[in-house]
């Protein structure tokens, strides 16, 4: 009996389906936050269709919340754009982190993929690329990344729309507020593969917690920087005698250690 191996098309379809499932679960967890955000933004006086379109154009909840609330309060364009830019500055780290994995993609697809690089899409993508078997052939990578990203984009826009038009009808005595931080915890866990990663996460979290009073969502940025320094220092110390330490190979990084 000849063993039958799945064809490339079947593998791509399986990867796309997995991307849809993973992103769908995240959208489910985002239901309370997405609807609450849409409902809150609907009271700012900003055109509801602009609020909804911000979910497509910006596609980053915390910065949409801050930017549109500022617009509603009469702030100028410059302040709104700078606020959004500061809150989303962490995405610079995402593009740097994914670059080694997407280096072989055509430029057009890298630039298209960047549009979808919101927090959960990054977390799903990096976990997929760093799993033991990798992310598979190029077509499987495209299938997973773009299906997960588009599912998140469409789902997030749908939740914002529901919040804008129906938010006021939903009872607020159903406690769901922990769904989003729990989701991020579960997205974080597969990425912690060694002590340096654990220290980066713990220090990042504690510093962001202590800095939570900072404006413009800066606490996340400050926490991430502290976590990177702490985890990086530990990684450097643990590998200071390692001859690979002087190599220029990204594969020698902590996630593969």
């Amino acid at each position: 009996m000849t063993p039958s191996f799945p064809s490339g098309r079947e593998l791509t379809r399986a990867a796309s389906l997995q991307g849809f499932r993973d992103a769908g679960l995240i959208i489910l967890a985002y239901i309370p936050f997405g609807i609450a955000m849409g409902a809150a933004l609907a009271t700012t006086g900003v055109d509801p269709w602009l609020i909804i379109s911000s979910s497509v154009v910006i596609f980053a909840g915390a910065s949409q919340l801050a930017g549109i609330e500022l617009l509603g309060a009469g702030a100028g364009i410059l302040l709104v754009v700078v606020t959004i830019g500061v809150i989303n500055a962490r995405h610079l780290l995402y593009s740097a982190s994914l670059e080694p994995h997407l280096a072989d993609w055509p430029r057009g697809l890298r630039m298209l993929g960047a549009f979808l690089l919101a927090d959960p899409v990054y977390a799903l993508a990096i976990a997929r690329f760093e799993r033991p078997g990798g992310a598979g052939a190029r077509s499987e990578q495209y299938g997973y990344f773009f299906t997960a990203g588009l599912t998140c984009l469409v789902g997030w826009t749908g939740l914002t729309t529901a919040g804008v038009f129906l938010g006021g009808l939903i009872p607020d005595d159903i406690p769901l507020g922990l769904a989003v931080p729990l989701t991020f915890l579960l997205l974080l866990l597969p990425l912690v593969k060694d002590t340096s990663g654990a220290i980066a996460a713990i220090v990042g979290g504690i510093v962001a917690l202590v800095a939570r009073g900072l404006p413009l969502g800066l606490s996340t940025l400050v926490g991430a920087a502290a976590g990177l320094v702490a985890g990086g220092l530990l990684f450097w110390w643990l590998h200071r005698g390692d001859p690979r330490g002087s190599e220029d190979d990204a594969d020698a990084g902590p996630a593969h250690g």
Binding site: A96, E99, L178, K193, V203, G205, A224, G227, A250
Partner: protein, 110 residues
């Protein structure tokens, strides 16, 4: 019109942060930094998740912090036991969280 321009420019700035290191193979992170890039995920996601779990609603208080930390530990344990199935971790975490609130209501701590 002003609102629409602000949102469009906000989207453009956001896109630039996401695309910067992906736009050209010449514009890559320095090689000495590349080894540390796998720490980006844990550092950023830890900065998002941990404050939300320890200080739900922005404040650290016994009545809210203890249930969410216990729920997080339950989610983590369930995720490990269920061979890293995210959905299991999420459902167990939320169920434990609601259960603790229910118990606190029963004993009059809520």
């Amino acid at each position: 019109m002003v609102d629409a321009i602000a949102i469009l420019l906000g989207g453009l700035v956001t896109y630039l942060t996401r695309v910067l290191f992906l736009v050209s193979k010449k514009l890559r992170p320095p090689r000495s930094v590349k080894r540390y890039l796998p720490l980006v995920g844990p550092a950023v996601l830890g900065s998002i998740a941990i404050p939300g779990l320890i200080a739900p609603g922005g404040e650290i208080a016994f009545a809210t912090t203890v249930p969410s930390v216990v729920a997080a530990l339950a989610a983590w344990s369930a995720w490990r036991l269920a061979r890293k199935q995210m959905v299991v971790g999420l459902v167990v975490g939320l169920a434990v969280w609601w259960g603790i609130f229910w118990l606190m209501g029963v004993v009059g701590w809520g």
